[in-house]
């Protein structure tokens, strides 16, 4: 893939959930380009333009990140923490979509700077509907930031 702009980064290790989410988002024509990362490590490499993603640029972040918490390799909270800590990536809206019903995850997620926190409905239809609502809200109602405001020095050298 070229350095085409990715609108949504979906971080989800569960194949079924990922399929459902993609389907819901594509049906609403909310995004042209959705990238699915299957674990925390891949998500971090994508976001920080490293590893297999050195062609990506901090100047063109995704408009939205849908982040599951239970992920292999690096877990969702860690991904969230790192990306909200770095000036180049902290302005990207992150919506946690998790099956966890733990109160402490909720508080920790918001505490680390998640823009919002969604509990995945168990029912397939409801799940699709939720993803659609999330997509509509974050890509239509909300105004995502353009660029990241960090100076040219952060631009990747080619």
């Amino acid at each position: 893939m070229s350095s085409a702009e990715v609108d949504i980064l979906l971080v989800e290790d569960n194949q079924d959930d990922a399929e459902l989410a993609l389907h819901a988002l594509r049906r609403e024509k909310l995004a042209n380009n959705i990238f699915v990362a299957r674990d925390g490590e891949e998500a971090l490499e994508f976001i920080f333009c490293a590893g297999a993603f050195t062609h990506r640029s901090f100047e063109h972040p995704p408009k939205l990140i849908l982040l599951d918490l239970k992920l292999p390799k690096v877990d969702g909270m860690e991904v969230l923490k790192r990306l909200k800590r770095d000036a180049r990536t902290k302005t990207i809206p992150v919506v946690i979509m998790t099956s966890s019903k733990e109160e402490r995850d909720l508080v920790k997620g918001y505490g680390l700077g998640a823009n919002s926190y969604i509990q995945k409905p168990v029912d397939f239809d409801q799940f699709r509907e939720t993803v659609k609502q999330v997509g509509l809200y974050w890509l239509v109602t909300n105004q995502p930031p353009v660029g990241n405001g960090v100076s040219q020095t952060s631009r990747k050298a080619t």
């Binding site: 909720l106 505490g111 919002s116 969604i118 109602t141 909300n142 995502p144 660029g147």
Partner: protein
């Protein structure tokens, strides 16, 4: 200024920080048929907003907001400062803040995100659109999202 809408059950507390009484009324109009029971508090300037959030002085008994709708252009303390203060205060930082303002400037949008606003919504100029947007915000944050509600 409080108003109960909807029926019983624990209402969601929304703090609207808005200096234009016209916009306050419009927002109430939009939230009138809200599906979820909610309680709207209004602060007309930045200072009042912070006092309310911190439950200072006459606001000692004020309920803690679960969601803040914040205009950027406010008298006394302006919205950007309020945002900064909320997100810097460990007690208040997890409260989601939705910037709801007339500005559509990229600079304002970026700055708000950098200050950890949860999201940014530009007030539509058209009435119908405005009503729809407020309803979407309400719908999203109150029904789709899980809010970090602190038991009082």
């Amino acid at each position: 200024m409080q108003e109960m809408m909807g029926t019983s059950a624990l209402p969601i507390e929304i703090l609207l920080v808005e200096d234009s009484p016209g916009d306050v009324l419009l927002t109430r109009e939009a939230l009138r048929d809200a599906k979820i029971c909610l309680n709207l508090q209004v602060a007309a300037d930045g200072e009042e907003a912070m006092a309310l959030l911190r439950r200072e002085g006459k606001y000692a008994a004020a309920p803690r907001p679960d969601l803040v709708l914040l205009d950027l252009n406010l008298p006394k303390k302006d919205g950007r400062e309020v945002l900064q203060e909320i997100k810097a205060d460990s007690n208040l930082a997890i409260i989601p803040v939705v910037i709801l303002t007339t500005s559509a400037s990229e600079v304002d949008i970026l700055r708000s995100y950098q200050l950890h606003a949860n999201c940014f919504v530009t007030k539509p100029v058209d009435l119908e659109q405005f009503l729809i947007v407020v309803k979407s915000i309400d719908n999203f944050w109150l029904t789709v999202v899980k809010l970090p509600i602190e038991p009082d």
